[in-house]
């Protein structure tokens, strides 16, 4: 589904990704862990199409198409979803209106009829229950005045609405209390099926107690330096990242 090969990218002349590679197949959950400043969020932003970065080398293929060649909105319509680390506030636009416009764009791309207001409300209510989000929030402007937990749940709600093929969760667990964490993770687990895939970027092992990954990758200095199964996450939790850093630095 997703094939990243030897990806190099920089921002303001500073190289952040230095030969990153990853293969993701349908039905898989990949966790990407690693210390701060190793390029995890950069990777998420580049996959979603944020303009600030220069890709200098490498390829990203998504379902046979050159992902890097597409505008951010095309990627979204093709089924790439980014749950933002810091969700943005959109003044004056209710979540309901925002999601209706968004969902209908995606449906148009999938050659489906747009939903009318009644159908849309039905779908929306169902998905809201799914992430245990208060219905009153739907009439409020997107993320405006939301608590940290509400913002993250709103991201998962949007993911549930758009039913993406590839979801990238950029530190969705940061700043969440244990209840919110459980709700977010439940959302992901219920959405998971054999046709879609998840890349879960996280700093801590905590989230992986709830979302069980098929693969765990450790990122350091702009590339993956170690991959393994879910037990790797536990090892990291116990031992920290220093041993990995030492291992990598010793081989350089």
């Amino acid at each position: 589904m997703l094939s990243i090969k030897d990806l190099h990218a920089s921002i303001n002349g500073k190289e952040i990704l230095k030969g990153f590679g990853l293969e993701v197949k349908p039905g898989e959950v990949h966790a990407i862990m690693g210390p701060n400043g190793t390029g995890k969020s950069t990777l998420a932003n580049i996959l979603a199409g944020k303009e600030d970065y220069d890709v200098t080398e490498g390829t990203v293929t998504f379902q046979g198409k050159d992902l890097l060649d597409m505008a951010p909105e095309e990627r979204a319509r093709e089924g790439v979803f980014l749950a933002f680390q810091y969700p943005i506030e959109i003044p004056g636009v209710s979540i309901a209106n925002f999601m209706k416009a968004s969902l209908n764009e995606v449906r148009k791309h999938r050659v489906l009829q747009p939903l009318d207001a009644v159908e849309f409300l039905k779908v929306m209510k169902e998905k809201m229950r799914f992430v245990e989000i208060d219905e009153k929030l739907m009439r409020r402007a997107v993320n405006e005045g939301f608590s940290g937990g509400e913002k993250k749940r709103n991201e998962i709600f949007q993911m549930a609405m758009l039913e993406p093929t590839l979801s990238i969760l950029d530190e969705t667990d940061s700043g969440l209390d244990i209840d919110a964490l459980r709700i977010v993770a439940n959302g992901v687990n219920k959405l998971k099926n054999e046709n879609n895939a998840f890349i879960v970027i996280t700093h801590y092992q905590r989230l992986l107690d709830y979302i069980v990954p098929d693969f765990v990758h450790v990122m350091y200095n702009g590339r993956i330096v170690k991959s393994g199964g879910k037990e790797l996450a536990l090892e990291l939790e116990a031992k920290g990242y220093d041993w990995i850093k030492q291992e990598v630095d010793a081989t350089v």
């Binding site: 979603a48 199409g49 944020k50 303009e51 505008a71 951010p72 909105e73 990627r75 979204a76 319509r77 979803f81 980014l82 933002f84 969700p87 943005i88 506030e89 959109i90 003044p91 004056g92 636009v93 209710s94 209106n97 925002f98 416009a101 968004s102 764009e105 995606v106 791309h109 402007a141 949007q158 758009l162």
Partner: protein, 481 residues
Amino acid sequence: MAEEIDIIDQVTQSDYKYGFVTNIESDNAKVGLSEDTVRFISAKKNEPEWMLEWRLKAYKAWLQMTEPTWPNVHYPKIDYQKIIYYAAPKPKKVLNSLDEVDPEILETFKKLGIPMEEQKILAGVAVDVVMDSVSVKTTYKEKLKELGIIFCSMSDAVKDYPELVQKYIGSVVPVRDNYFAALNSAVFSDGSFCYIPKGTRCPMELSTYFRINEANTGQFERTLLIADEGSYVSYLEGCTAPMRDENQLHAAVVELVAMDNAEIKYSTVQNWYPGNKEGKGGIYNFVTKRGICQGINSKISWTQVETGSAITWKYPSVVLKGENSIGEFYSVAVTNNYQQADTGTKMIHIGKNTRSRIVSKGISAGKSQNSYRGLVKVNPNAENAYNFSQCDSLLIGDRCGAHTFPYLEVSNKTAKVEHEATTSKIGEDILFYCNQRGLSTETAVQLIINGYCKEVFQHLPMEFAAEAQKLLAVSLEGSVG
């Protein structure tokens, strides 16, 4: 002092009367503004003596006034002696089909969703006599006549209803009110006149749109609207289609009078040529609009969507004289590229229990500057006056400016005045977030703008509101990304 001026006026006037020579065969006034120009215009229009006297009084007032410099707008000094103040409406070159129209204008029509037949009228294409809007227009006229509603050009009103015009013209916006109002009073070319008789509810939206073919109102438009006791009227000014005009300076005056229990709803969509992307050209729009709630329980409501003009200087106001009267101002002002707008309102509370509401939404994009300027004044006798003001600014990009200048003058302790203001910005991060949800940048901006302006749009007549939404999208095209 005032007396002295009057005497001087009389003397100079009479001198000029004898020295007055002009060739009224000519269609255009000579370049520049003098007493001769004023006389020429009045003569051209076959006006009665009182109208000429009124114009001359205005001209003399104007001579003693200076152009205001307080608005937050900048433009090269206007040479008032280089303007032609009267040109007979020239028959526009008749085109045979839409193929001959400027493709850029056609493109805009398409985006606005203007029906083909209307496109033809607006672009000056010859149309069949049986065309829909002509017959609609005739039906409208008959219906209005039955109800005793007068709706005609200002020129016709001066001739046909001189007592009404004489009584009310300049009663709300006095000749000396401000520099541009004085100028307009001296040289106004034409405009609309409307009178709604007692107890009559005007059954349709009155619109200058329907008069578009009849008169080219020109650069100094004068509108007077009187709603007699217990009457109601909704009036639409302008249209969403792009208006090109050779004249750079526009100085209109609009006066509204609402008697006991009368209600006037006045909606404007202004889409004059804003100049090109580099800020060359465009209309200077210096407008004075004011209504007076003369009677008890009367109500005047201004709604405006301003997207055009290089410079806008405009403060639709309400004088709340009658007890329990209500004044409202709902505004969306958009500036893009190098446009400048200094707009807002004045609510003058004079009567008891008067209430006013101000909702202003400014949108700045490109390198434009957008200012809200509003005055809420509560006079000593205005017991229990109440005002609520909401002034919001929205910035698109980081090269534009938004400014708010609220003025409050409260001289009665029982008054309640509330003011709320917000500033928000559509930045790259918001757009990227929207893009990531599958929305194109244009759609995202439209969504945000429509949400932001909803409170104003809902006060526009329905079909106008839909057009206004599209108009905003067109005006802000290319403002991001």
